[in-house]
């Protein structure tokens, strides 16, 4: 069932300060991703994958999260294109760069995993996994625990359109929507119309992925994920709905994929995709809310920060070889069978 248009229309405009904040975070996230690609191309990393093109969706999501650790806060089950969301939540550039450069200081994985595979327990951000679907079913568990704890907090899960072909996506819809056992879960799909190199028509029969939620009586809607205002308003409305009812909601956000799938497909800018930042900047300029000079300053500021952070990360320690035995078990319990 679609959310009412009436309630959306009441929130047609966002406060100017918020729009400026959203713009700046979108730029910061984009510059960061482009810096990560440059690090890859310079041979200082092995693989890049990320979310340039998803800023107009991801930044509003990050701003609306009730962030913190434990059941009194929202849980996030993200995928590897969610740099904009984490940037909006407060992730510093250096944290993504350390992950990209596999430093021991990488706060997410200690140099153990790919770019975009973030993990921030301090904000209930579950570890991003390379399998593109398991977050959908794992999110059921945190939502279940939240419901049981009686909080008004929610779990949020995001993934791409291609991952909806996996059974875990169906699991998510089934378990979240059982009668009288509904879970407080925001299910999102960022539809960039590509599964690596297979286009949307090559793997989908449905017109809109959001329609699949309807079969489970999950409230659902489609948003233009290239418009940060529409994204923000839709997210806020659906998150408020989940918090007040304890029931799931589903948003399909239609977004761009500006640099292809990953470094595996070249990570080159795709000119015929909509660039959400350029579009938003036009709107802000037309509305007289920002000047070209101010825009230029924001881009330059983060370019300089990215360069400085890469230099800093380059000088930091690499993980030690002997650390492979660390954290196999909790409390670093001995895991090497040779030592049993």
């Amino acid at each position: 069932m679609a959310a009412s248009k009436k309630s959306t229309s009441k929130l047609k405009n966002l406060p100017p300060a918020l729009m400026i904040q959203i713009h700046e975070l979108m730029v910061k996230s984009r510059v960061l991703e482009e810096r990560l690609i440059k690090i890859y191309r310079a041979g200082e990393s092995y693989f890049w994958i990320g979310g340039p093109g998803e800023e107009a969706w991801g930044v509003p999501l990050g701003l609306l999260v009730q962030k913190g650790q434990g059941l009194k806060y929202d849980y996030l089950h993200l995928h590897y294109r969610c740099t904009p969301t984490l940037t909006a939540m407060g992730m510093e550039m250096k944290e993504a760069i350390r992950l990209m450069m596999n430093r021991a200081t990488d706060p997410s994985t200690g140099g153990r995993n790919f770019s975009g595979h973030y993990c921030f327990p301090k904000w209930n951000v579950a570890p991003v996994t390379s399998p593109i679907e398991v977050q959908y079913s794992i999110s059921l568990g945190t939502a279940h625990a939240q419901k049981k704890a009686g909080t008004k907090r929610i779990s949020i899960v995001s993934g791409g359109d291609a991952g909806t072909a996996e059974g875990d996506f169906a699991s998510c819809l089934i378990w979240a929507s059982r009668k009288n056992q509904e879970l407080p879960l925001l299910i999102t799909v960022q539809n960039n119309r590509w599964g690596i190199s297979t286009n949307f028509e090559g793997q989908h029969g449905e017109s809109q992925i959001a329609d699949r939620a309807k079969a489970f009586n999950i409230r659902s809607r489609v948003v233009n994920g290239n418009d940060p205002i529409e994204s923000y308003l839709a997210l806020k409305e659906e998150m408020d709905y989940i918090r007040s009812t304890g029931k799931p909601s589903f948003i399909e956000a239609q977004v761009s994929r500006l640099y292809g799938h990953s470094s595996a497909s070249g990570a080159n800018f795709i000119a015929n995709e909509i660039d959400c930042i350029k579009e938003f900047e036009k709107k802000l300029l037309d509305a007289g809310m920002i000047s070209k000079k101010e825009i230029s300053h924001i881009w330059k500021k983060y370019e300089e920060e990215g360069v400085a952070m890469a230099e800093e990360a380059r000088s930091e320690a690499a993980p030690r070889a002997e650390s492979i035995w660390d954290h196999v078990y909790a409390n670093n319990e001995n895991s090497d069978w040779r030592k049993f």
Partner: protein, 351 residues
């Protein structure tokens, strides 16, 4: 004495009451059935999951991510294989996050043959499980160990696989669970659901107490001098029987119940093999790339000059399934005669 199903039930009840266990779930785990082997009857927190193994494992992972304790069940281990990448992720989450997210979850699942379950209800999982890095894997051979291992598993901050030898679910133990009434009839009346309408039935739980079998610690069930026989689960009972029979013939066999498959009690195996110079490993998972082969490898690497005979493994035949007819099942999984004959061969081998 309790049987293994009752022991598991009592352990879960103890954990609900004392260890903050908040969710016990899986297919048919909740009322009215309480599990296909009745191991979850009458539990306060037991609930029925959709028929979705991947959903069950990932639900457990999410619950564990919040720090809450849960025990999830896969109804038969034959159906756990479509969750393999989730098990892999559960095992690597702590490592991948550099120690930031541990998953304190227990997954229990019935394993092995012995109930004429044919192709999809007779599989073993111990050798597969031994390759799931980051997991601990245990398999009891008697009700008291089932009770103690399950409580240890629930307390453990890591993911733990609790493998239930399904053929032993109705076998009674020789030792009382702490707090268990001495009368079997009394226990049955207290905690076994009646046949028929159970809507008004509630269990009367005995005052069971804390009891741990530490994960990673084996047990010598028969002391002996001539050969070390290492097993776990259902086949441990066969090994004990063989040792008792041979004792009548003045052949002294040492039997070790490994109890934990990973981490395993190498020091116990090592000391025994050094003493006897001969060793046989027995389990019912398939023979090619068997966990017993790893143990033989280690024996050869570390104890070669203590050996008086070739170490050996008896396991199930490397065929795709276990056929329903007894002739087929018996020809596939290790039988007592095969174990005994091999054991005598090893003893009679002259270095």
């Amino acid at each position: 004495m309790a049987n293994m199903a009752q022991a598991i039930r009592m352990a879960l009840h103890y954990a609900e009451k004392n260890l903050e266990l908040k969710d016990v779930f899986g297919q048919d785990v909740g009322a009215p059935l309480g599990g296909v082997f009745t191991a979850t009857q009458g539990l306060k927190t037991a609930w029925n999951a959709p028929l979705d193994e991947r959903g069950i494992i990932s639900m457990a992972m999410g619950i564990a991510m919040t720090g809450s304790r849960c025990v999830a069940e896969i109804q038969f281990c034959d159906y756990i294989f479509n969750t393999m990448d989730l098990l892999k992720i559960a095992g690597n989450t702590l490592w991948c996050t550099n120690g930031q997210y541990n998953l304190p979850m227990v997954v229990m699942t019935p394993v092995g043959a012995g109930i004429r379950g044919s192709i999809y209800h007779s599989h073993s999982f111990d050798s597969w499980a031994s390759r799931l890095q980051g997991w601990k894997v245990v398999m009891p051979s008697n009700p008291l160990d089932a009770y103690g291992l399950l409580l240890s598993a629930i307390k453990d901050p890591n993911p733990v696989l609790f493998l239930k030898p399904k053929a032993l679910m109705r076998v009674r133990g020789e030792e009382l669970i702490p707090g268990e009434p001495t009368s079997e009839k009394e226990l049955k009346a207290m905690i076994d659901a009646p046949i028929g309408d159970r809507s008004k039935w509630k269990p009367q739980w005995p005052q069971v107490k804390d009891y741990e079998v530490p994960i990673g610690k084996g047990k010598i069930t028969r002391s002996g001098e001539r050969l070390t026989l290492v097993s776990y689960g259902r086949h441990l009972l066969l090994c004990n029987e063989i040792a008792d029979e041979l004792k009548q013939e003045n052949i002294s066999i040492e039997v070790i119940d490994l109890r934990s498959i990973y981490p395993y009690d190498w020091q116990m195996v090592k000391e025994s093999v050094v003493k006897t110079g001969r060793v046989l490993f027995v389990n019912e998972d398939t023979e090619v790339t068997n966990f017993g082969e790893h143990l033989v490898y280690r024996v050869v690497q570390e104890l070669f000059y203590h050996l008086l005979a070739r170490p050996r493994v008896i396991a199930a035949k490397n065929v795709p399934g276990i056929g329903l007819h007894p002739n087929l099942e018996d020809a596939t999984v290790p039988q007592k005669s095969e174990i005994k004959n091999t054991l005598l061969e090893i003893i009679n081998e002259i270095p």
